[in-house]
Symmetry: C2
Subunit: 314 residues, 2 copies
């Protein structure tokens, strides 16, 4: 299987510059053990790293393809990312969401100018295929595509540039687009730096798969138990191959540890992180990870305000 | 009166690089009218812009002066800034705080390695002078010093570099060190950009002073009414002279508007801002300011967690 290359990611960096924020590394004087820096991707214009991959994938279309618009199925950060990126290019975007999606998420996607298309629950892919057939729009997948992986990998380039002497980089894992890109960039630019995945215990299909050496399937019902609603997907063969090639290890964290990390990031780092974005810090605080200069990627901040307030008020 | 120069600020930028985070400008797709970017100084390692001025002031001491340590009187962000900067230089810092300071603030300052010295309420300056006399330590004032102003001005340089076509920059004002530096940098680098001050209605001594053309005194009791506890100081002749020279206008905001801005920044920008840091956005949202590309400086994020939770839970 062809893996994404450093050159792919470097080219993506040129494309996303000016749309994705060049996030700084934030030193954490409050860190209890190994020195810690945060990579705050929750500060992207749509509140999550997904803008990088979506923008790169749309930029890689031909002018003719792009003119026909893009389609995506997602009710989360990928939906907003595709909508935002499409608006930057001045093209149409159709976002397919299941009927039971909370209205606040639909409004966020609509606010970026996308056409939100409701589908029956479980019928998102079929509906997206229908739109593709009708309009000729290009499908932008959330993680299972080399251009999406290359876009997310620009985070790894930035980390290697800002802290070339990093010992460990901690990355939330779900579908695996983020860690595939970051690990590819880090292992080529800064080979001594270890890349570790962090996953919720309640959606630990990637940990199980890496242990088994092959993709292990967890049921949707099982994966949906975690509060980290951005980490309920499973790797694809493509993202799993990147992880087998480049990821040094994986740890899992409990729901209580995730909540505590969200609260700590608000109090100590002045960042609003969603549970999915805070798992990296939960791993840093609670697991036996390699010592040394550590970077935790905070992948996003789109948390339900009621959930955030409840976590803070404990 | 000699004002700080662009060259002073450029030199300060070289000094603070590597200690102060080079904060990005964050675009705000949710902004209702004029396009808005945030300058998130709440992401500095001590949670506020003050690290820039404190570090620059300590860097400007002679080796001999610096070896004798530094002293400051503050219970807020300046205390943490001096403590943090002193540790970076490997020198001693004495921070004088009144006896009634909440223990959480004392712990934050101590965590950066400073000696916290308790004083009788209202006796901070006398106690600091005593320490100076005993130890030869250099006093680092919170705003009334050219080196401090030049350090804060590095924020203006970064704004002018990242968004040279900015039309308006909004800056919280209190003692005036921040806006003096920012306005000096902006007016020299990007003269068409307007710089506006934003101040709480309940501590509007700067607005009164600018209207009167001379410093107007508000009582401590009056100024202490605002929730924006970082904005309860008054300008000095030095910072007032900078404001008269370079600031285009000033607006005041209500307590309710400040609280709403804190909540909005958490929900839409994934940032924890302290009330003092959020006044710029409160001004943007609620006052009749010049149209166009607007930058709001978020000066800090050190909010009492209980106050933050209460604001979010409304």
């Amino acid at each position: 299987m062809d893996l994404v290359t450093l050159a792919d990611i470097e080219a993506a960096a040129g494309r996303v510059a000016g749309t994705a924020v060049r996030t700084p590394l934030l030193p954490c004087p409050w860190a209890p053990r190994s020195p810690l820096w945060l990579k705050p991707e929750n500060l992207q214009p749509i509140g999550a790293f997904k803008i990088r991959g979506a923008y790169n994938a749309i930029a890689r279309l031909t002018d003719e393809q792009r003119a026909r618009g893009v389609v995506a199925y997602s009710s989360g950060n990928h939906a907003q990312a595709v909508a935002y990126a499409a608006r930057e290019f001045g093209i149409r975007a159709w976002i397919v969401v299941p009927k039971d999606t909370p209205v606040v998420k639909i409004e966020a996607t609509r606010s970026h100018g996308a056409d939100v298309v409701l589908s029956e629950v479980g019928q998102r892919e079929a509906k997206a295929a229908e739109i593709q057939a009708e309009t000729g729009a290009a499908l932008i997948p959330p993680f299972d595509h080399p251009d999406v992986i290359a876009g997310q990998g620009t985070i790894g380039l930035e980390i290697a540039e800002d802290l070339p002497e990093a010992d460990v980089v901690l990355v939330p894992v779900s579908g695996g687009g983020l860690i595939s890109g970051v690990a590819t960039a880090i292992k080529h630019r800064s080979p001594k730096t270890q890349v570790w995945a962090v996953e919720p215990e309640l959606a630990a299909d990637t940990a199980a798969s890496l242990a088994a050496g092959e993709l292990v399937d967890w049921s949707v019902a099982d994966r949906n138990r975690t509060i980290a609603d951005g980490l309920r997907s499973q790797p694809s063969p493509l993202t799993f191959a990147h992880q087998q090639a480049y990821v040094d290890g994986i740890v899992t964290v409990s729901e209580a540890e995730i909540r505590a990390a969200v609260a700590l990031l608000a109090e100590k780092a002045n960042l609003v992180a969603e549970p999915s974005g805070a798992v990296s810090v939960a791993g840093y605080l609670n697991r036996d990870l390699p010592e040394g200069r550590t970077v935790a990627v905070i992948s996003g901040g789109n948390i339900d305000p009621a959930v955030f307030t409840e976590i803070l008020a404990r």
